[in-house]
Amino acid sequence: MANGAALAGRVLAALAVLMPALPGAAADGCRFADGGAPAGRFSAGGQDYLYRFDPPRLAVARRFSVEVQACAPEPSALIGVDARMPAHRHGMNYRPRLEAVSATGWRAEGLMLHMPGAWRFLFRIDGPSGGTEAAIDRQLP
């Protein structure tokens, strides 16, 4: 019996270590509603958000969408998603259409990165003390 309890304890400990590495799971339980894997995470205005792309693999000159999931139950709103190439001093040629898909989730449609190279995604959050922005760098392809 004692051996069984020890074994169960070890299994639980192992699961606790493994959980953050599993797709869609984070140490704090933050996840997309469908359990899908995030591409990354950013913080803005003191709150955390997950993001992912649809399709997941970005390609030059191909349309895609960005999905954002807030980790807080009553988050500050995402009010903009944009992308720029700082070294080239230009952004995208298209303005994505952003819509809330739930109280804590958003989807930006119609993004397109028209050159290979270093892109910077910008997530604008309407925080309690005004707008704030998080930047995520991404190399394409």
Binding site: V60, A61, R63, A87, H88, R89, H90, M92, N93, Y94, R95, P96, R97, E109, G110, M112, H114, M115, P116, G117, P141
Partner: protein, 406 residues
């Protein structure tokens, strides 16, 4: 020498003659045709293929891929009656024997009402039509967001074919082959449809034909595929000058930033320092004017003639941003089949590929927008590098169309 030894010697001689000897570098070592390309350059080269890429039907055109529509479109493409007074057909400016181009610096224009007898020239070079289906926008300023809208624009533009919907419908009705194909596609004779419907349907048939114009494979494609396979023997068949030009193109020249992907175009627009002042006064607004025209057109994918009920194909039309930097931007053309489509640039100001390479070598940075993209810089190419770059560009011509020279 015995008879057996003699036979063995003869066999060896035959085998040696047939064996492809590897090219030798200057020091006598076997040349590696891929050696000049680092991992980043190889990834870029691979991204320019395979060719041709897969291409699905155009959701915005219900005639896309329809054999009857393609045959009708091919016929309409050469039908002068679709223009006012029967002056021009599509094929008169987009000559199939000349890369679907006219070989002129600026396209021929029809006379405007009240103007002199001769129509003179348009403000822009006539773009070739090979591989147009792989573009997102059509025309140097991208005023059209579909092949059918681009066809319709040429049919109705006052200085081009200048036809009205009523004239187009009448021309369709009067031409037996057109009327027959039209009736087969629409279930109605041209005269039984509203003129605008008949006009749009004829443009969609032409677009279905244009979708079939996919350029043949090129020496570059053979090299690119050899690189993908790691086949050095096949890679050595690609001339050294073209390889050096490709290294410039994908490397220091940074040409692949815009001329990206299998079609060598990212489908967007760029300002490369070509003047946009018109000889008769005024300016060619380039992409800026193209977006304005697109937004005003009832024939864009945002309009009622888009056959994609989901409107998912209208995302670019609805989301495109109009900015000051769009002045002076023109479409990034495909580079495939380039040898047949000179003169070059939106104003046809560069007569040949050597002039194109020199343009990038000696860029006028004063001409570029101060608030524009920070990408271009003069390449300061040597004469040899210009020749190499041209050898590479010529390797994008179809195999057999004039192989790249060493």
């Amino acid at each position: 020498m015995t008879a057996a030894t003699a036979r063995l010697a003869a066999l060896l001689a035959v085998l040696l003659a047939a064996w492809p000897l590897p090219a030798l570098a200057g020091d006598g070592a076997v040349e590696d045709p891929f050696a000049a390309f680092d991992a980043e350059a190889r990834a870029l080269i691979l991204s320019h293929g395979p060719w041709p890429p897969p291409a699905g039907a155009d959701a915005g055109n219900r005639l896309s891929g329809d054999p009857t529509a393609i045959a009708l479109g091919a016929h309409l493409f050469g039908l002068r009656a679709l223009s006012r007074q029967g002056l021009f057909s599509c094929a008169d400016c987009h000559d199939p024997a000349s890369g679907f181009d006219d070989g002129l610096a600026l396209g021929a224009a029809r006379p405007l009402p009240g103007a002199a007898e001769q129509g003179g020239v348009l403000d822009r070079n006539t773009p070739g039509l090979w591989d147009a289906r792989f573009q997102r926008w059509f025309g140097w300023g991208g005023a059209s967001d579909s092949l059918w809208a681009a066809s319709l624009r040429a049919m109705t533009a006052p200085r081009e074919m200048a036809a009205t919907p009523t004239e187009i419908r009448a021309a369709l009705a009067a031409d037996p082959q057109a009327a027959r194909g039209f009736a087969e596609l629409s279930g109605a004779a041209p005269a039984d449809l509203p003129a605008e419907e008949a006009m749009v349907l004829s443009a969609k048939a032409i677009a279905a034909y244009l979708e079939t114009l996919v350029s043949p494979r090129t020496p570059f494609d053979a090299f690119r595929d050899a690189l993908a396979r790691g086949d050095r023997a096949a890679g050595r068949a690609y001339p050294a000058a073209a390889r050096r030009g490709l290294a410039l193109f994908a490397g220091a020249g940074r040409c692949s930033l815009c001329h990206f992907g299998p079609a060598f175009s990212n489908g967007e627009f760029a300002d490369i320092g070509i003047p946009f002042f018109l000889p008769g006064g005024g300016v060619d607004k380039g992409r800026y004017g193209g977006i304005q025209e697109l937004r005003a057109s009832p024939y864009s994918l945002a309009g009622r003639f888009n056959d994609d009920a989901s409107r998912r194909n209208a995302w670019a039309t609805e989301g495109v941003v109009l900015e000051h930097r769009n002045f002076g931007e023109f479409q990034v053309p495909s580079l495939r089949g380039l040898g047949a489509t000179g003169p070059y640039m939106h104003d046809g100001s560069l007569p040949d590929l050597e002039a194109v390479a020199r343009h990038y070598s000696e860029l006028d940075m004063e001409r570029l927008h101060a608030d524009g993209e920070a990408i271009l810089r003069p390449l300061h190419l040597t004469g040899g590098e210009i020749a190499d770059l041209v050898a590479f560009l010529r390797s994008l011509d179809p195999i057999g169309a004039g192989p790249p020279q060493e």
